[in-house]
């Protein structure tokens, strides 16, 4: 379970998160939608401790992320995160990209790490690209590799930050299919996305962020068909045209 309690966060004078309260249950798929600069990415990077927070609390399986003494490296092994820019490690093959963290962070042996990598890469449809360098892959393939790389750590949660936004339109589908597959397998996921159709399909709940506030949260039907907040309504209307 991820518990977010009254989290505030500023960059200099700019308050980006203005008291966020949100709980994500195990097995849940939550998507976050909202305008540019509303704080969606910042919230994800606060959840895995890449960014500090100013006040409030975030707990992952009961461990407080920003508490002094929390082993962030260990905590991050439970939280897979995939960014808009996939950040393949260019000097490593696809296989080595996926094996690196299991070996160095979890201390898994080479053979076992290779088996894990092969399994995860096949899972995202890259079973035939194991020994290729990332520069030879399309954007969609690199993004799927990044997903496999995160999954190889056996995380309890996956955070996706607009993972299709930097892709050519014809490559978006293959990555969304991978996310759908994970959702159907019961992975707990928080997806920041601009793909409204996808959000409606896979989400248990959809949260709408506006200017650092979670303006509304509910089932996809509530948010997309009967939004209560006028800002949500305006945003949904705008993105559906």
């Amino acid at each position: 379970m991820i518990e977010i309690e009254n989290v505030r966060k500023s960059f200099g004078p700019l308050e980006v998160l203005k008291g966020i309260d949100l709980t994500v249950q195990k097995g849940e798929v939550l998507t976050i939608i909202g305008g540019s600069g509303s704080g969606k990415s910042t919230l994800l990077t606060c959840i895995n401790g890449l960014e500090p927070i100013d006040s409030g609390r975030i707990k992952v399986d009961g461990t407080e992320v920003h508490a002094r003494g929390t082993d962030l490296n260990k905590l991050r092994t439970k939280l897979g995160i995939v960014f808009q820019q996939w950040n393949a490690f260019p000097h490593l093959t696809v296989m080595e990209n996926v094996m690196l963290a299991p070996r160095k962070v979890l201390g898994i042996g080479k053979a076992e790490a290779a088996a894990i990598a092969e399994k995860q890469l096949s899972h995202v449809g890259l079973g035939d690209k194991l020994d290729v360098y990332p520069s030879r892959l399309s954007g969609g393939q690199q993004q799927r590799m990044a997903i496999a790389r995160a999954l190889a750590m056996s995380p309890g949660y996956m955070l996706f930050d607009e993972v299709t936004s930097a892709l050519d339109p014809q490559l978006v589908g293959e990555v969304l299919d991978t996310l759908r597959m994970l959702a159907s397998e019961g992975m707990t996921m928080i997806c920041v996305t601009h793909e409204m159709k996808f959000a409606r399909e896979v989400s248990d709940r959809v949260a709408f962020f506006s200017k650092g506030v979670m303006a509304e949260i509910g089932t996809p039907q509530q948010i997309f068909d009967a939004p209560q907040n006028p800002e949500t309504a305006a945003f949904v209307k705008m993105t559906q045209n």
């Binding site: 991050r76 490690f89 260019p90």
Partner: protein, 221 residues
């Protein structure tokens, strides 16, 4: 009139001695590169830290290494420190001088190389649970060394050539030192130094060709 008669045989007879010297030259160049690379990584780390004292160390080092003659640097490592009662052998002084020079130049190369690697690489590594040191060592450093590989090769060539400056601090068993001593004994000046030049040339060429081979094997991406 041109009255000098070439006596290549006499010079060639000294070739084994000169090749022994060349091995010492290579040894100094390799050691100065190995230590220089490590120091350069540390200096680059200092430069990137927010500590003003550490940044100042790097800045001073780099400025001195790049803007004073290598001869001065080697001289200081011998006679300069001797003024403070520290006495190094010519071999050690030469090694220190060249290493100092290497570290300064390489640190600048590394800094430039790091700029070409997006921050998101380290961020991705950290978000997989790697420590800052792991992220640097497994993700950033290999990419940095690749980008800086050609400048490193050039510095290695330069290190080989810089060993000739050891003569000024009394170094006499590297290639240049050996040649100089033989010259004093035989006065076959042209032949001996021509031979030394050829050996220097062959060494630096081998380094350049070798580096290219290593690069194609190492950097397949």
């Amino acid at each position: 009139m041109f009255s000098y008669t070439f006596q290549w045989k006499q010079a060639l007879a000294k070739l084994p001695l000169m090749l022994d010297g060349a091995l010492v030259t290579i040894e100094i160049a390799l050691l100065s590169m190995a230590i220089g690379i490590v120091l350069a990584v540390v200096l680059t780390g200092f430069r990137l830290s927010n500590n003003r004292f550490l940044v100042a160390i790097t800045t001073t080092w780099v400025e001195l290494a790049r803007n004073t003659p290598a001869l001065f640097q080697i001289y200081m490592a011998h006679f300069g420190v001797a003024s403070f009662g520290v006495h190094f052998s010519p071999y050690v002084s030469l090694l220190i001088g060249i290493t100092f020079n290497n570290a300064g130049y390489l640190s600048e190369n590394f800094r430039g190389a790091l700029k070409a690697i997006p921050d998101t690489q380290a961020r991705a590594a950290r978000s997989l649970g790697m420590s800052a040191v792991q992220a640097f060592g497994y993700v950033v450093l290999p990419q940095m060394l690749r980008i800086a590989f050609l400048p490193m090769t050039n510095q290695m060539v330069w290190a080989i050539l810089m060993t000739s400056l050891g003569i000024t601090v009394g170094m006499n068993f590297d290639l240049y030192g050996v040649t100089q001593d033989l010259n004093a004994l035989t006065f076959r000046t042209f032949e001996l130094f021509a031979l030394a030049a050829v050996i220097f040339y062959v060494m630096t060429k081998i380094i350049q060709i070798g580096a290219r081979l290593i690069a194609t094997r190492l950097f397949r991406y």
